[in-house]
Symmetry: C2
Amino acid sequence: MFIDEKEDKKYTAAFIIIGNEILSGRTKELNLNFLAKELSNLGIELLESRIILDKKTSIIRCLNELRKKHTYVFVSGGLGPTHDDITRTSVSKAFKVDLYRDQDAVSMIKEHYHETNNKVLSETAFKMAEVPVGATLILNDISGAPGFKLKNVFVFAGVPEVMQAMFNYAKLYIKSSDKFISKALHVEVGESMISFLFGKLQKKYNDLELGSYPVHHKGKWCSNLVVRGKKLTRINQAVKELEKKLFKNKIKYSVEGVKR
Amino acid sequence: MFIDEKEDKKYTAAFIIIGNEILSGRTKELNLNFLAKELSNLGIELLESRIILDKKTSIIRCLNELRKKHTYVFVSGGLGPTHDDITRTSVSKAFKVDLYRDQDAVSMIKEHYHETNNKVLSETAFKMAEVPVGATLILNDISGAPGFKLKNVFVFAGVPEVMQAMFNYAKLYIKSSDKFISKALHVEVGESMISFLFGKLQKKYNDLELGSYPVHHKGKWCSNLVVRGKKLTRINQAVKELEKKLFKNKIKYSVEGVKR
């Protein structure tokens, strides 16, 4: 069997971003791009992302819909100790299990706090040690307070630094597959000039994903043509054919390296 | 009747972002924060946003679910002339109406193209003149090719400059209500130190939205406490009470101006 012929497992994911502050426009969303790149590298297809309010019914409905559909569901936001942090309760309600105070999590919070502060730790901090029954803790060095994993659902804090640390730890529990790779050509014409030839190419290479993205710079329109898939030899084949067609049509272009 | 007592209409919205390139991590999402701020200023509650693939079945399902739930649904992405631009077809299928080539849209595309180019316009450019039967064109000066509105659904291009121009034009058709306003206090302690007092305040001011957001800077944790609503007098009242409580607990803070 050739290496290119080995069967590739198909893993999919969804990302639920919880936060009133993102939907009100107060805070810019900063976790999606990080997660999208990481999953692409792990060969996992991120099929959708939803940004929802800190509202129990919305979280429960959304989580129960998506966890049945995907290999993994990632959730971020709402893990803090204030009244508007309701992700823990909502996840446990979605799974119909109780919340309990995890003693390992209590120790982690105490330890981290004593290392960075002199003051007395407020009792409310231990709200961050509550996790649903059956959950596995997801550690992080930045805040000390852990996230958790329950079946195929990973729950992270919303602060980007902490979310990233938690994701890196969570990789222990994530199955990966051949990574996605892509090559991009930048062409110096607008999309309507390449639409026909690029569309024909997609039909021929229907095992790859060919995407065209308009770029507007100083009043001039160009296009980025992206060829994405899991097999480099196949991607190279499509890119070579695309290059030939562009050359034949006298369209200027430049090739990017192998990128995500 | 006092001005504060006038009945305020409740308008809600959802935002569907269409684009493989965002879910693959290739492109950063740049339209959500713009739309969130604009809607907040128009007094419209953005209740959710979904990022989905350029895939007909996903677009149709998502659109039909959300357009029944909200006053407005905004859609961005997939309006170009290439094979992966399938938003027009998907929207018309969701509404069960035909697509047709709109002659006003054809003129706009021709006019814009002739102003900015010398070359012959490719026939495929007119794919961008196709809109569902019953749609109203949403004009923009940047690309020339219009978006459209069909009932309570607004469809914009994905390129941020063009999306923003289209939204500004679309305001003609959007009902507004009292704008959302908010005040924020920055406190120099982590969330667990204010969790109890802030939670009590939320219970008292249950007509306002009180949110706490952790800030991590150079190893130190602080919190931003946000009070949001539509009535400035009421917001000021809550902020004054919050300030008193912080002062009493010897917690240092600073007040931001009136912000979104």
